[in-house]
């Protein structure tokens, strides 16, 4: 028998651009007022900014900027080598550039989870070794470059990529340790996390550069970059640990019981059942922490490391370029923004992919 149910379509509320504008921007007096206010703010800020940054601006290296009202991007075009690479010898900049391109390519390839396999793991390993050789040199006829001379974006990427990749698993271990039933491990993890979280990163960096060497045996020294790296890892791991703990506590007890009743042991249960779910829940807060850790690497300026921020500042201390700090800071802000945007964009993609509907 034919059923006589009429198919009712949802009402058409808006038609075309004008319909959309009326619906979303001018639907009520309040909305109209807000639209006008925001539009005028944009008009009076964005237009002059574009005028300054693009239309009236100077781009050529060593232009005479003193006479213009616009931005003087010449500070970037003249000094980009120093800003991006610090004191790395300028005649062999192809080496860090190649290394960075390799790193970025590997990161982009790794975005796609379908490509996560052993080969990608080997590529990372090989890539890291090649990058290290390229940067450090000293073999294969490459001129040796002291680690002290690595600066700018090389240092920023080094501190953040290694810092974040090491801090994340360490944070997970600390979180598991804090949940542990073994009192010694639990106490240690709680103590560590609370201690580190109670101290500013700056003081940790100071300790790593000033206090820590006092404990080393006579004549032994550990590279300043490595010490800063360790401080950043220790600091970030404590925060990651607390976020992951939140995810672990949010897990349904039934998941542990189901895993137990299959006979899975603790490691298997955590690795296969609990962590994949708990880490998925905490993607947004973990990414916030990773992003802020990435930006916090700029704090190494206070212990005299030449990261991106410090190299920019050193350019600005040149009398020739004094007074153009806005342009310089906008430039590095843009670099930081691109990296952070990449991270948060990836986290949203990951969340969507991992959503299984329960």
């Amino acid at each position: 028998m034919e059923t006589n149910i009429e198919i009712v379509k949802p009402p058409i509320t808006n038609v075309g651009v004008i319909g959309w504008i009326r619906e979303n921007l001018f639907s009520s007096p309040l909305n109209t007022v807000l639209t006008i206010i925001i539009a005028s703010i944009l008009w009076f800020s964005v237009i002059p900014f574009l005028q300054w940054a693009l239309i009236d601006s100077y781009w050529l290296p060593d232009s005479n900027c003193k006479e213009t009202n616009g931005a003087c991007w010449s500070i970037i075009t003249s000094n980009y080598k120093v800003i991006l690479f610090g004191f790395y010898p300028q005649n062999i900049l192809w080496r860090p550039i190649t290394a960075i391109i390799m790193l970025v390519s590997l990161l982009i390839i790794s975005r796609n989870r379908n490509w996560w396999n052993a080969y990608l793991g080997y590529s990372w390993l090989a890539g890291l070794i090649i990058m290290g050789v390229l940067l450090k040199g000293g073999i294969l006829g490459l001129e040796a470059v002291d680690i002290e001379k690595w600066g700018g974006i090389i240092l920023t990427l080094l501190l953040s990529v290694f810092g974040l990749t090491a801090a994340y698993p360490l944070g997970i271990l600390l979180a598991l340790g804090r949940q542990s039933e073994m009192p010694v491990i639990k106490t240690f993890c709680v103590f560590y996390i609370e201690l580190i979280r109670g101290v500013p990163l700056i003081s940790l960096l100071f300790m790593s550069s000033v206090v820590f060497p006092l404990f080393l045996p006579e004549g032994m020294s550990i590279n300043a970059i490595l010490r800063a790296q360790v401080a950043i890892i220790m600091f970030t791991a404590a925060y990651i640990a607390e976020v992951v703990r939140g995810g672990l506590q949010g897990m349904n007890k039934g998941q542990f019981e189901a895993a137990d009743s299959l006979g899975l042991n603790y490691t298997q249960t955590m690795r296969l059942i609990i962590l994949p779910q708990a880490l998925k829940i905490v993607i947004p807060p973990s990414v916030s922490i990773l992003i802020s850790a990435f930006k916090d690497t700029s704090l190494v300026v206070i212990i005299g490391l030449y990261d991106l921020l410090k190299t920019t500042q050193s350019t600005l201390s040149d009398p020739k370029w004094m007074g153009f700090s806005a342009e310089a800071y906008i430039f590095i802000a843009l670099i930081y923004f691109i990296c952070c945007f990449f991270m948060s964009n990836y986290s949203r993609k990951l969340e969507k992919e991992l959503d299984t509907g329960l």
Binding site: E257, A258, D260, S261, L262, G263, N265, Q277, T356
Partner: protein, 257 residues
């Protein structure tokens, strides 16, 4: 449920697979299980019923040590449950458990839910584990859903997957903890049918349930628990028609209107 399908074979001569002797358990000062003694023979089907909070779930959870007992002995398949983790994992891999809320792993597909135990606990090769998984999915009539995630299935389907997941470990004993209580009424039957099918195949089962029809037709023995103790036990016809204890009578009058 036809009579011949659930015909009860005589199990009196079979060997004992679960032995619980003078077992006690407390939550703090609260005496949840009070002097439990129970022998379960191979292929025996036991239904445990009783008011909520009477300790029936706790009892079966002690059998695979999801709960720890504090006094007495529990011996499963010849292995005594103690603090020894190796023994506990061994017992757990031999004893299947089905939960009220299914507890499927939501981040894994159905077939991955089924293969994870065999692959990691039994060290079965992946391919073989998948064949076993498909076999049991067919048995619970849900093979076509193998590639889906648990969140995409109905409650009844999820519970059937959960049963199949336990069966993939080829357990000697199955424990059912109110397996149908969280289901919509129209889905209860599909899960009970799977359980009856298992019973017919000779599985040793301890079933905590309020499905008295299931108890009558499938169980060799019905236990009634109240306040942490086994108050009455009998074969089903006698248990339902001629309850001895006053508390049993009261309970039965409340659930069999």
């Amino acid at each position: 449920m036809s009579e011949d399908k659930t015909k009860k074979v005589d199990i009196s001569s079979k060997k004992t697979v679960i032995e619980i002797i003078n077992m006690h358990k407390w939550y703090g000062d609260f005496h949840v299980l009070n002097n439990i003694n129970l022998d379960v023979k191979k292929s025996e089907r036991i239904v445990v019923c009783g008011p909520s909070g009477s300790g029936k779930s706790t009892l079966i959870r002690c059998v695979n040590r999801l709960e720890e007992h504090q006094k007495g002995k529990i011996i499963v398949d010849g292995i005594e449950l103690t603090k020894d983790l190796k023994n506990i994992e061994k017992v757990r891999s031999e004893v299947g458990m089905v939960f009220q809320h299914f507890n499927l792993f939501p981040h894994l597909t159905i077939v991955e839910n089924l293969t994870i135990g065999p692959i990691w606990v039994r060290k079965t090769p992946k391919k073989e584990a998948e064949e076993i998984a498909m076999h049991y999915l067919e048995k619970v009539q849900i093979a076509e859903q193998a590639a889906k995630f648990p969140g995409q299935l109905s409650g009844g389907q999820q519970q059937r997957v959960a049963i199949a997941r336990s069966l993939c470990m080829k357990p000697n004993i199955m424990l059912f903890d109110e397996a149908t209580s969280a289901l919509d009424p129209e889905m209860v039957k599909e899960v009970l049918d799977v359980m009856i099918d298992l019973a017919t195949g000779g599985m040793t089962m301890i079933v905590v349930t309020h499905e008295m029809g299931f108890a009558k037709s499938v169980a060799h023995r019905v236990l009634f628990m109240d306040e942490g103790a086994i108050v009455e036990e009998n074969e089903p016809n006698e248990f339902f028609d001629n309850p001895q204890n006053d508390r049993t009578k009261l309970f039965l009058s409340q659930i069999l209107h």
